[in-house]
């Protein structure tokens, strides 16, 4: 009985969501539907990479150097083993390294966007609601940061944080430093949008009512204003995710991101570039295609979401 009680409000809510404008637009947009399925599929593959991957590319015991440079689909000349997408110089299965690489790319992307979002929402809410000096300082910092390209800010933060990390932890910490750098480089977008929306919301009657009742500023910001400014945040978060994945790949490609012991898609492309001239195209080609497909589908999803949530286009 008790479980039924808890479950009951969920089904109507789901049905209400299914009937909502957003869900309707989703069902009627084949591009959005396809890219959503694709992103989910890739995320699923990334999360369960250890179960799906035919080989463990980071366990030296299972690697056979004789398998190196096997072309996709054809059996190796020495061992007779064949690999769907071929192998790299050390005999690692490219398909497996892509799955593991995607794991790092997606993890860094999601975590960085979360960090940027939390920072940006907090800064935007406080700036919009408090106003005065707080607002001036926060928005000035945002303006200054916005004049620098995000990728450059990420690089600078990565470099500075790296130089402050003790030498023996640098490789272990690289992933977290990367998340910090990318997260700190994109909080501004969130802050600006949330501040703008907060400025509109804070003069509405429901906020004044909450103030009269005597709720604290924090409660008003979090419980009353925040839920009403979330829809633009969702759009920015999706587009930021695509940008964060690309930024991570770029930094790793440049050799200032994920270390070779934990390669992301960008690191794999960096490794693959070395074999471009000797004809082993698959080491570069497949990770690059995965990165593109991932970024493109997240981008398309973001575009659809922006149009679907934009009241002016209804």
């Amino acid at each position: 009985m008790t479980t039924a009680k808890i479950k009951r409000p969920f089904a109507p809510r789901l049905r209400a969501f299914w009937a909502s404008d957003l869900a309707w637009s989703f069902r009627h947009s084949p591009v959005a539907f396809a890219s959503f399925i694709f992103v989910c599929l890739l995320t699923f593959c990334a999360i369960f990479a250890p179960l799906i991957a035919p080989h463990d590319p980071f366990n030296p015991a299972t690697l056979n150097l004789m398998n190196g440079f096997t072309a996709p689909g054809t059996p190796n000349a020495f061992t007779g083993e064949s690999f769907v997408l071929g192998t790299d110089d050390q005999g690692r299965d490219v398909f497996s390294t892509i799955l593991y690489g995607m794991r790092i790319s997606l993890f860094v992307g999601f975590a960085a966007v979360m960090l940027g979002m939390v920072l940006g929402i907090t800064a935007g809410l406080v700036a919009g609601y408090r106003g005065g000096w707080t607002e001036t300082i926060i928005m000035r910092i945002a303006d200054v940061q916005l004049t620098f390209p995000a990728i450059l800010v990420a690089m600078l933060i990565f470099g500075i944080t790296k130089s402050f990390t003790p030498v023996e932890y640098r490789d272990q910490m690289a992933i977290w430093v990367l998340i910090l750098a990318i997260g700190l480089s994109d909080w501004v977008q969130f802050a600006r949008v949330v501040r703008g929306a907060t400025l509109v919301e804070k003069n509405k009657e429901y906020v004044q009512a909450a103030q009269l009742v005597g709720r604290s500023g924090l409660a008003i910001m979090v419980r009353h204003i925040l839920p009403n400014v979330l829809s633009p945040v969702l759009v920015i978060a999706t587009i930021s995710l695509a940008l964060a994945i690309i930024a991570e790949a770029t930094l790793s490609f440049l050799g200032v991101g994920a270390p070779p012991t934990q390669p992301s898609l960008g690191t794999l492309i960096r490794i693959g570039q070395g074999f471009l001239f000797s004809g082993e195209w698959w080491i570069l080609f497949f990770p690059a295609c995965t990165l593109l497909a991932l970024a493109l589908s997240v981008n398309l999803l973001g575009d659809w979401l922006r149009d679907a949530l934009n009241p002016r286009l209804r």
Binding site: V144, F158, G159, K162, T250, Q273, L292
Partner: protein, 324 residues
Amino acid sequence: MLSYIIRRIFQSILVLLVVGLVAFSMFRFVGDPIENMMGQERTQADIVRLRAQLGLDQPFPVQYWKFLKGAAQGNFGVSYRQGRPVGQIIAERAPATLELAAVSGFFAIIAGIGLGIFTAIRQKGWASHFIMTASLIGVSLPTFLIGILLIYLFSVELDLLPSFGRGDVVKIGFWSTGFLTASGLKALILPSITLGLYQMTLIMRLVRAEMQEVLRQDYINFARARGLSERVVNFRHALKNTLVPVITVIGLQLGSIIAFAIITETVFQWPGVGLLFINAIQFVDIPVMAAYLMLISVMFVGINLLVDLLYAAIDPRLRSESAT
């Protein structure tokens, strides 16, 4: 107006001071400079003497002031990795980056404005559709993949252009230029396309949108009604009014070309300042990182200050807004 200018300049100086503080803290707190400079065999007296000699026993603000004074004179200390003054290394590398940025900026402006006009005038043709679709793909491709793609096509498959380096350079005084040799010019082609492609798409889309907007206006219809030729209408009447916003965007994009040069330089192993910076991050060469940080901040803050002041000069509304 005057108060607006003073406030903007004051704000820029504040930003540079903060950036300087970050750069200085990197020097001061990452490892002990004395440890970095002295070997194993040292006495306490040596350490105290060197500390006093370098001014490290002085209070923090005094040290910071000295650092700023040094930085303003281009003195950023000695690179940990190369053992040479950082100012000297950057001065050697700067021509490569500036030449690359200039050529790709030129390419982006010419090709961007040209294609923008073309797609705005011939909206329906298949060529316009093709260009617009290609530009969408161009925007979503990360810069480094474009570089690799070009290397694969033109260096590996067709073997037409070099895939790395600057080719032969000619030294004119302190400036080393790749413009005067055939191999230097050939080496410039792929990197500048890679670097300029994104800016080109941006300029193209902007020109197209602005031009379509302008072409709908009454005075264009009037010009056509007067019997002016299509060429005169498009280029004399429409284009001129399109270019004002385009020029401001080009000005703001100048800085990002230098910033994105980091990526292009790494892909093509172009011996510029960007590659120097990436190597400095990899090897935690703090003096080089700090110098690059200061340099790029001065550049960006300068460009933005200039653009803001120009806006204030052009647009009277900004002036009155700042007065209130």
